[in-house]
Symmetry: C2
Subunit: 335 residues, 2 copies
DNA sequence: CTGAAAGCGCTAACAG
DNA sequence: CTGTTAGCGCTTTCAG
């Protein structure tokens, strides 16, 4: 790579002259500026990013820590983050926590050495289960901002972007109730997550009519290593009266449809199904799944905006903001 | 963030003493080393990454350009890349080309200013369609290595990681032939990609018995904006004799199963289906899809290894390597 | 209008 | 055993 130094030497001028000329300083003569720019172009000169970072003490880079990139929600959120970051002139360094506390903490510490200006992350499942959030606090104390999205913690004092999981789930359930469904069940494989608990609570809220307690609710909890199809099939057999399902994660809804069909049930005639998922997933069943759209791309975009807002107001003390992104039910064939 | 300077000042020693002490140089006395390390620990000192990069002229960072993160194959490949990079002590800066030539070229130029030591990428769809590869060449000419995976170009002279798409598809088709299937069709939504063409060729090869020409093959090409379910449904109706399907992309197979079921066909009794997809997708249909496993994680891992090998042999001239990662058919219920 | 010099944080050759 | 100095590539103040 060509440097200012080399250009300066070849042109018999000083380094600072070259620098100023390239930055269109009016301290430099027209003729010189032209000569400098031509040579720079000829050699395809690009200012060295690392040197600029050292000088300015900012990297224009965001550290992003994703629990699980194979989850479409996070993949889409990452997509939104990258898109907005690019627009704003930032790069992203991506790490995967793989839902583990150790990797999350490691990534955080690794990148807090000046590699990035701040973080955007969703808390790992293990971290939420442990309730251990000191690693976030210590980064914040060092002056690095963190924006949390989706999986957040009240115990951490920073900007956040979430959807109203409780309300989204309540709306979805109410939608089925309104359609006359009497025995609505809830299927979840994420009951250890904050969002999973909120979605369950929203379901219970809307579905509580005539039921004495939470215990009366029909809820299927699927474990990490369970065969979902088998679990759901058994659930149908044990509860033949079910005529509606709300699924909390992004694949159970689809599996519930396929399994119902394979048992000879008609969807949505015999059973109506709604799930937290996206359009591609919706298309992977016949009939297509009615979904609750979480707008992950939008979430990512807001996360970037909140972070950059904080980065650019270096000195002022800003109150932490929690941005709630709206959800919508996308009606399709399964409900 | 604490710097060497601050530590030095507080300890009344020189900056270089502190630096050497922290790096366990034997030039420094035991007592001093201890004092320095204690204070460093106390202040949670971390060497500034940017300064190190400037000094060493390496960033220990890899630029990764992904065409579409919502495609599970690429998401998994990214996962594999991140995993191996972390093991090797590298970070990754991720960009999305969104299948466009412009974004791909832009990312390449943006990051080639010293932000990264080299690139790992899969060529964008538009770039492959255009056949325009100069932007890669010019990066290579600047001395930055590029490792291409999956979507590669013979015209670019660098390391590559691919699967043998032709052979994988041939094997899958042969598998159905061996099971006695007579009228096997091919469904693709990626016929403009190099891998799409190879998979189609592999299918034709294995399926050519008794057919006079390529034209006799039953091939359904799904456009970007088509409704896959509708297209496939119509395809079944137009070709009632079909008893086997090989799907080239990672969702058509699942859709083919669901659509078949909805038309009252028995899978795999009436029709056998195999697709390029992964385990999660396989689980989204009843019966579960038999898949061709492309080992995307493995591909990502090899890409990182090839890149780092080249980075670490700065001076020697290495012949470009093309690594072929094996595939396997994971038999499930649909075949 | 141009150049010299300092400094961002760090390492390492060289002096003492 | 410790310190001084130069330099990585760049910007910017200050002199000329």
């Amino acid at each position: 790579m060509v440097t200012l130094k080399q250009l300066a030497k070849e042109l018999n001028v000083s380094i600072s002259t070259v620098s100023k000329a390239l930055n269109d300083s009016n301290e430099i003569g027209k003729h010189t500026t032209t000569r400098v720019k031509e040579l720079a172009k000829y050699y395809n000169y690009k200012p060295n990013k690392v040197a600029l970072s050292l000088k300015s003490n900012t990297t224009k880079t965001i550290g992003v820590i994703i629990p699980n990139i194979l989850n479409r929600f996070f993949a889409k959120a990452l997509f939104g983050i990258e898109k907005e970051a690019t627009i704003q002139g930032y790069n992203i360094i991506t790490c995967m926590s793989n839902e583990t506390y150790v990797k999350e903490k490691g990534s955080l510490q690794l990148l807090s050495n000046g590699s990035v200006d701040g973080f955007i992350l969703a808390v790992a499942e293990e971290t939420q289960a442990k309730g251990e959030f000191n690693h976030f606090e210590s980064i914040l104390r060092e002056g690095m901002p963190i924006v949390m999205f989706d999986r957040v913690s009240k115990l951490v004092n920073g900007d956040k972007v979430i959807i109203d999981d409780f309300e989204a789930s309540r709306k979805a359930t109410a939608n089925l109730v309104k359609k006359g469904r009497k025995y609505i069940a809830f299927i979840t494989s994420i009951d250890d997550l904050s969002v999973g608990k909120l979605r369950e609570a929203g379901f219970v809220k809307a579905n509580s009519k005539g039921l004495d307690s939470h215990d009366d609710q029909k809820i299927l909890r699927i474990g990490k290593n369970d065969d979902s199809q088998e679990q759901i099939r058994q659930f149908y057999k044990d509860n033949p009266d079910i005529d509606g399902i709300v699924s909390a994660d992004n694949i159970s809804g689809t599996i519930a449809i396929n399994t119902a069909i394979s048992l000879g049930l008609k969807v949505p005639k015999d059973i109506s199904i709604i799930g937290f998922a996206d359009q591609i997933i919706s298309n992977l069943s016949t009939p297509k799944l009615t979904t609750i759209n979480q707008n992950p791309e939008e979430i990512g975009k807001h996360a970037v905006q909140l972070l950059i807002r904080r980065l650019q107001s270096k000195d002022e003390i800003l109150e932490p903001i929690t941005k709630v992104v709206g959800t919508s039910i996308i009606e399709s064939e399964s409900s």
